[in-house]
């Protein structure tokens, strides 16, 4: 039984990492129908900038704050320079643009910083917490709390704030949103800043566990993307549940079936879910208008 609990705790830890990345996808997707494959790079930047600022002597919280602000700035730049000019391009072009951005950011990071793997200290030490024979690191609790907090904030943002509803309105019908007086350009800029900041915050939270280097972004983006699709793109609830589900699935497969095929199991389940529910677990159903 302690094994099951340990697998579960491991799954929740990893799942919370995926959920954090997946949550970053939702805002941009909601505002612009763009899946930003550079989302993983935001996470990487959050970790890398924090590390180097910390290494330069800044206290960790300040280093993290700088990283989050700087990454948000990069997110805004990405929107202004690459996404806005490409408005209305087909899905495949947008995929290539954001993957291009991801490669670009990776290339720049390796130049500005380095190609080494880095880690900074966990926020509350490394003393494992014992729960019924299983253990979890305090940093994992930070990550889980971070995922829940961001989920909650996003939920409030999209349902309770005017600007959050404006984001949804922009996604539903850009022209109509403009007609009712929403500044859609501002909405887009805001959503990229927020997505990037969430990504960077994720990077700050997970780096003590996952470590970071210039090339961790793509793998994170893929898993986060898969998690977001599993839950249903654009829905914060979907991102959270999808991420946790994916993490737990991987841990259970690694624990009970085969660690070699744990990623395979995750993708098999994603495929199965999409076949049964083409919009993911919590995605909106859409009807073709003709």
């Amino acid at each position: 039984m302690p094994e099951l609990l340990q697998f579960l705790l491991s799954g929740i830890t990893v799942g919370a990492v995926y959920a954090l990345v997946a949550l970053g996808f939702t805002i941009i997707y909601n505002a612009s129908d763009v899946v930003n494959f550079a989302q993983g790079e935001f996470v990487m930047l959050g970790g890398m900038i924090t590390f180097f600022a910390h290494a330069a002597g800044l206290p960790l919280p300040l280093a993290a704050l700088i990283a989050i602000i700087a990454t948000a700035g990069i997110g805004v730049a990405l929107n202004k320079l690459a996404i806005e000019p490409a408005r209305g391009a087909p899905v495949v072009s947008l995929i290539i643009i954001t993957i291009g951005a991801s490669i670009f950011i990776r290339g720049a990071t390796q130049l500005v910083f380095d190609k080494q793997i880095h880690r900074f200290p966990a926020f509350s030490g490394d003393q494992p917490i014992l729960i019924g024979g299983a253990t979890i690191l305090p940093q994992s609790l930070w990550v889980i709390a971070g995922a829940l907090a961001i989920f909650f904030c996003l939920w409030l943002f999209f349902t309770r704030t005017l600007i959050g509803r404006a984001v949804l309105a922009t996604a539903n019908n850009r022209i109509a949103a403009q007609l009712v007086g929403i500044n859609t350009n501002y909405v887009m800029t805001l959503s990229f800043a927020m997505s990037a900041a969430i990504g960077a915050l994720a990077g700050v939270l997970v780096t003590p566990i996952t470590l970071t280097s210039y090339d961790v972004g793509l793998a994170l983006a893929l898993k986060g993307f898969a998690a977001a699709m599993l839950g249903g793109m654009g829905n914060p609830k979907g991102a959270l549940v999808g991420g946790l589900l994916l993490g737990i699935l991987e841990a259970m497969t690694a624990g009970y079936i085969s660690s070699q095929y744990k990623d395979a199991a995750a993708f098999v389940v994603i495929l199965a879910v999409l076949f049964a529910m083409p919009q993911g677990l919590f995605g909106r159903k859409s009807t073709d208008r003709v």
């Binding site: 080494q116 793997i117 880690r119 566990i209 624990g255 660690s259």
Partner: protein, 383 residues
């Protein structure tokens, strides 16, 4: 209209193809294709930096036999297909006399046929034994084979009376290759693998695998072949779960960076086979390798500001072997260089003392590996 347009476009591409810059003529052209970026950049980056640094040093000191070395380095990103193209380019276009490289086993195996066909000596920096076994006339390598690392570890285990172990290996090239080679020879040491787990190169948590190993009755020690962040996370999870058994890492993480990543506390007591390079300062004055490894370590850390790693050491040795061979051959004919490399004898490198023969294109024995243990955030030789 359309016709002329497409022709222009294609002609443009052609011009691009033809426009590859041809490097200036130089005295001794040495090529390298390394994985400076991509999943193996952890290995390839220090290798490339080492080569560039050493060539600069050699040229500043007057070159080899009075001729300067012209080093051409390509970054294959760890992609064997790209590596093969660069290998062809080095041979056919750059017309180098010898090549160092192939950071990974995959890239090395992919480019060997190019050099064997062209009869250009090639010194690989990758671990697998397949590279030099069977011996191919023009192919050499400097790192110990992964099999030797396995042997070193198993010897140490045997000495400690360990006969049942758990294995957790990375599913990347390095981890998978070492796992395979360890499993091939493990029977010779009377050691049994009770649990055989793997993890992906970008995984964030290995506690499920380690929980299973911990839960297996009779496991006396755990071995983790891998490189990159994986082993650091394994080590941290190992401490988190308080597995309490001896943990063996591989030479893939033999660098100070590993202790930093895993944390001195979690890494306490971890054993691994490493080269003299890692414990340069601890070597007795009488050690023949001391002078070489201290000089390289100091130069590298001064030039790059990064801690030295075993992998850079492989590149260091490859270039030393090559320069030594060219000096002895007194010629830059590829076949003469090849013969001279095969005649390498008693050359002291970072990995050990190299003596090659027609049957042995590696020239190292197990004594070149030192069993190291991490204590209080530093290395200790345990032999």
């Amino acid at each position: 209209m359309k016709f002329s347009l497409t022709t222009t476009a294609l002609a443009g591409t052609l011009a691009l193809v033809l426009g590859f810059a041809a490097p200036a003529l130089a005295d001794i052209k040495i090529g390298a294709t390394l994985s400076e970026t991509g999943p193996a950049s952890f290995l390839g980056d220090p290798e490339a930096k080492t080569l560039k640094m050493l060539v600069e040093e050699i040229n500043a000191a007057g070159g080899v036999n009075g001729e300067k070395i012209d080093l051409i380095v390509y970054d294959d990103g760890g992609d064997p297909n790209k590596a093969r193209t660069f290998a062809t380019r080095l041979v056919e276009d750059d017309e180098v006399v010898a090549v160092i490289g192939g950071t990974t086993t995959g890239t090395s195996m992919a480019i060997i046929p190019v050099f064997e066909d062209a009869e250009i000596p090639f010194i690989s920096l990758a671990g697998a034994i397949e590279i030099i076994d069977p011996v191919r006339p023009f192919t050499f390598k400097t790192p110990h084979t992964d099999r030797m690392a396995c042997a070193k570890i198993f010897e140490d285990m045997k000495k400690a009376g360990i006969s049942k172990i758990g294995l957790i290996s990375g599913s990347d090239g390095f981890g998978a290759s070492m796992r395979k080679q360890c499993l091939e020879i493990i029977g010779e040491y009377g050691i049994e693998v009770l649990a055989d787990e793997t993890y992906g190169p970008t995984d964030a948590d290995m506690t499920p695998q380690l929980t299973n190993i911990k839960g297996k009755d009779g496991v006396q020690a755990v071995l983790n072949p891998g490189f990159g962040q994986g082993p650091a996370i394994v080590t941290r999870n190992y401490a988190q779960l308080t597995v309490g058994l001896p943990l063996y890492q591989s030479h893939g993480v033999a660098s100070d960076g590993f202790i930093e990543l895993a944390g001195a506390e979690a890494a306490e007591g971890v054993r691994l086979p490493g080269t003299a390079l890692l414990v340069a300062g601890l070597l007795p004055e009488s050690d023949p390798q001391r002078a070489v490894v201290v000089a390289y370590k100091d130069a590298y850390e001064k030039a790059t500001g990064k801690p030295v790693s075993t992998f850079g050491g492989y590149a260091h040795d490859a270039l030393r072997i090559l320069v030594d061979a060219i000096t002895r051959a007194g010629s830059t004919e590829p076949s003469a260089i090849r013969d001279a490399i095969e005649g390498t004898s008693g050359l002291v490198g970072t990995t050990g003392t190299v003596t090659m023969t027609a049957e042995d294109h590696l020239g190292l024995d197990l004594s070149a590996f030192r069993m190291l243990q991490i204590e209080k955030g530093g290395w200790k030789i345990v032999e």
